[in-house]
């Protein structure tokens, strides 16, 4: 039977597996797999134990139930979570988390009756199911006659003595119908048979109904109706948890009562006492590894001199969790925390913080088992941090590991910082290397470009790449409108042409040959980047409007096409520069205007020009090249 039900035994366990810790970052869980395994062999051990128990424990017995129940004076409605609840209070089974099996075997009434009790219950997806079997057997009831000589009663030697057996089998179901209300019931099949002097057998069925109401965490109330449609037996009762004491009272409407108290003396030892009309009872339960042995002492006052010892052996289950770790691999790990890669600073020294550690890749095996029945195994690969054995910063060994803090001098321009770390790979006995690198640019500050200036990064980088220059006195004048000559110069500088090759002077009327921008204007005009006015002028000093500036830059970046929907509400639908603005916006050049009006007629500032140019792919390429190698694309002559 048990084997056939193994899937049912396993099911609740699988549902109740413990949640795993969530992995964070690179440490934590990498992968996991899970499997269940039966431990049926241990159950075989239990069955052997049970058989031994039946042989050795044939002492005397109680009216109903297990040694635990006897120790509690017979009170059972408030003492739930026991397989024996199958008979005493089916609704109480809803408290069980594991399959339970309980066996009691003994003799009653000075050895005249053999009593056997077996109960089993298991939680399932749809409720608790249970099975109970209880049987009493006795024999030797002599048939008699009257002695004709003395008229006294004598054994009728011509007829066989009578034996009788009575058993009940219960199929149990219990379920929580509300959070604090459980119901349960038994379908019972009675069987009675006479043998010997009478040969007769009879069967009947019965129904038990019970409910258990959890008034609050301390107080539960129960009702149990046995043989609902037959000679009914109704019990009301409950239990109250007062500190560690669980006190329960059953009142039988047949005017009997049972009062019991259970006290956990230690983790695996319960002490019990009970009172009923048949007298006081004492008991103890000893739990070990999923099994419980119960003993009770009860001298039934109705049966003076009968054996007062009661024993029950139960499998009560219990969940054990064990975790095993096994080192699989190591991963060294180094990263800079502060400053960020490609940071800009004006300071000559910089504080560096970094993390230098290794990750231990561990196989973590967790086994949850319902003792002696089943186990769920989960194997997870987790990575845990471990200090590195050696850490070098820019070639110097640090006596730090984990989170590192050092400071470093910076030269003007691009500075490269590196951390190297080593970890011993215990698994393969080899040394593992990890490294991290960042670059920091120390620049000479402009008076009018503060470190928090919105276009600091494009200005500094374009200046570093010598695409744009400041003014004397350490000024950049970022808010100054850029002139046509200045922007054209800026653009030509980014192009793949050496300044020395720019020989042809401009032939615009208003651009004299000796104008510092003459050759840039000529090259730009030649490349179609900038056009003059119909009257043959270039107006080099004219400050560009934003629309004009963006148009120029869009042409520079080869961004041309049809206009589309624009995010700027202040631009008229047929505005002449819409197609350039649209293209530039789509190419991500106008990030700095996000959420703002376009303001087409506002002067196009130097800072804006730097920002938009900085976002163009051509300049991004130059910038990346600089960060990686420290090389500026090309050097042009000093200009204003």
């Amino acid at each position: 039977m048990i084997n056939a039900l193994t899937p049912l035994l396993l099911k609740p366990l699988a549902q109740q597996h413990l949640p795993l810790p969530k992995g964070e970052g690179r440490f934590g869980i990498r992968k996991q797999k899970k499997r269940n395994q039966g431990e049926g062999c241990k159950l075989v051990l239990f069955v052997i134990c049970y058989l031994l128990f039946v042989i050795f424990a044939s002492a005397a017995f109680a009216t109903d139930g297990t040694a635990r129940q006897v120790g509690l004076g017979g009170a059972s409605l408030g003492f739930s979570g026991d397989a024996n609840n199958v008979f005493s209070n089916p609704a109480g089974l809803t408290n069980i988390k594991f399959p339970k099996l309980s066996t009691t075997s003994r003799t009653l009434l000075f050895g005249e009756v053999q009593y056997n009790l077996l109960t089993w219950a298991a939680p399932t997806d749809f409720g608790i199911i249970g099975f109970g079997y209880s049987a009493v057997n006795s024999g030797g009831s002599y048939q008699t006659t009257l002695d004709p000589a003395t008229d006294r009663i004598i054994i009728d030697a011509s007829r066989e003595a009578i034996s009788f057996g009575s058993s009940v089998m219960a199929l149990t179901f219990a379920k929580n119908i509300r959070e604090n209300l459980a119901v349960g019931g038994n379908l019972k099949f009675f069987n009675q048979s006479f043998s010997g002097g009478i040969s007769s057998a009879a069967g009947s069925t019965g129904l038990d109904l019970s409910c258990l109401y959890q008034q609050n965490p301390s107080l539960s109330l129960g009702l149990n109706i046995q043989n609902t449609f037959g000679p009914r037996r109704i019990k009301l009762g409950g239990s109250y948890q007062a500190k560690n004491y669980l006190v329960g009272l059953d009142y039988d409407l047949g005017s009997s009562y049972s009062l019991g108290v259970e006290y956990p003396l230690a983790e695996n030892i319960d002490l019990r006492a009970g009172l009923s009309p048949t007298g006081l009872a004492f008991g103890a339960g000893l739990t070990n590894n999923g099994f419980r042995f119960d003993y009770a002492y009860h001298q039934n006052s109705n049966i003076p001199g009968d054996l007062p010892h009661y024993f029950t052996l139960s499998y009560i289950g219990g969940r054990a969790e064990k975790t095993y770790y096994k080192l699989r691999d190591k991963i060294p790990y180094i990263r800079f925390i502060e400053p960020q890669d490609r940071a800009l600073t004006t300071e000559p020294t910089i504080s560096i913080s970094a993390e230098a550690t290794a990750g231990r890749v561990l196989e973590k095996k967790q086994v949850w088992s319902v003792i002696a029945l089943s186990a769920t195994q989960e194997i997870t690969e987790v990575i845990e941090p471990e200090p590195l054995t050696k850490v070098f910063f820019n070639g110097n060994e640090l006596n730090q590991t984990g989170t590192i803090a050092v400071s470093s001098h910076l030269g003007l321009g691009r500075n490269v910082m590196q951390i190297y770390g080593y970890a011993d790979k215990e698994v393969a006995k080899e040394t593992l290397l990890a490294s991290a690198e960042i670059k920091v640019l120390r620049y000479k500050p402009f008076e009018d470009v503060k470190p928090d200036y919105w276009a600091l990064r494009p200005i500094i980088l374009l200046e570093t790449l010598k695409l744009v220059n400041g003014y004397p006195n350490n000024a950049f004048k970022p808010e100054k409108g850029i002139s046509r000559a200045e922007l054209v110069t800026l653009l030509v500088r980014t192009m793949a042409v050496k300044e020395a090759d720019l020989l042809i002077p401009s032939d615009f009327k208003d651009v004299k040959t000796n104008n510092w921008a003459s050759k840039f204007i000529a090259y730009a005009a030649n490349q179609g980047l900038a056009t003059g006015y119909p009257d043959g002028t270039f107006k080099p000093t004219k400050v560009l409007t934003r629309a004009e500036g963006i148009t120029l830059l869009a042409r520079y970046a080869n961004l041309t096409g049809e206009a589309g929907p624009l995010p700027f509400k202040d631009l008229p639908e047929n505005y002449w520069a819409n197609k350039y603005i649209f293209s530039a916006d789509r190419a991500g050049l106008l990030k700095y205007l996000e959420g703002k009006d376009f303001g087409p007629n506002k002067p196009f500032t130097r800072a804006e020009a730097c920002e938009v140019l900085y976002q163009t792919p051509a300049v991004q390429k130059l910038v990346n090249h600089y960060w990686e190698t420290g090389e500026t694309a090309k050097t042009t002559s000093e200009a204003q």
């Binding site: 034996s163 039934n300 003076p304």
Partner: protein, 225 residues
């Protein structure tokens, strides 16, 4: 010839009755006392004599007592009672009754051995038995019989096989059920709640002074046909 043969046969059968010696029955505390029975140490001894001829004298002897009996007669039956006032010693006793009729013929009844066991704990001698067994409550009662070694206040408890107490009866030591010797009590098959019990085996215990007497347990069967 054949008729004469029958007459002789019938006459032979009737003659002993017409001319029989008196029959004597001895009772202790109301129960017929037979050889081997226990008796109390202060028994009330009753004698019943059936005699077709008038009795002139009766004498009872027990231990060192020899007592003439005074009869009360009813037809051919003669009754007399004697109460032993000073306790009989423990051990084997004999009760002897002699009866003499008008023609001087003597009839003697001696019941021996009888046992006075006042020094020992009360026990049940032999096995308690009930008759009829099985019995059908509602139609029948059953009689439970047991022999006590000495008078005792008896509790008779009847249990079902789950050791639930079904019925509990008490008998005083000077009444039927608590006397020394053979006791008969009846049970109608009703539990203490007043309803008839169901089919099955029931175990009864004979309890005195808070202990089940030695041999004081029996099994009866209720079987409704």
């Amino acid at each position: 010839m054949k008729k004469l043969f029958y007459i002789i046969i019938i006459a032979c059968l009737l003659l002993p009755a017409a001319f029989a010696a008196p029959t004597i029955d001895i009772y202790c505390d109301g129960a017929p006392t037979l050889v081997g029975d226990p008796i109390a140490n202060t028994p009330r001894i009753s004698v019943t004599i059936v005699s077709s001829t008038a009795l002139t004298l009766g004498r009872l002897s027990v231990y060192n007592i020899s007592q003439n009996l005074t009869f009360v007669s009813s037809g051919t039956s003669y009754y007399a009672t004697y109460e032993v006032s000073s306790p009989l010693p423990n051990g084997t006793q004999t009760i002897t009754v002699e009866a003499f009729n008008v023609s001087g013929e003597a009839t003697t009844k001696e019941v021996t051995p009888l046992y006075v066991q006042n020094n020992l704990a009360t026990t049940v001698q032999g096995f308690p038995l009930n008759y009829p067994n099985p019995f059908d409550p509602g139609i029948q009662s059953t009689t439970i019989a047991y022999t006590l070694s000495k008078p005792a206040n008896i509790t008779l408890s009847i249990f079902d096989l789950s050791a639930n107490l079904v019925a509990k009866k008490s008998y005083s030591q000077d009444a039927a059920g608590g006397r020394a010797g053979y006791n008969e009590v009846t049970w109608d098959g009703k539990n203490d709640g007043g309803s008839y019990v169901g089919n099955g085996l029931y175990i009864y215990l004979i309890i005195a002074d808070g202990a089940v007497l030695q041999n004081g347990k029996g099994k009866l069967t209720v079987f409704k046909r």
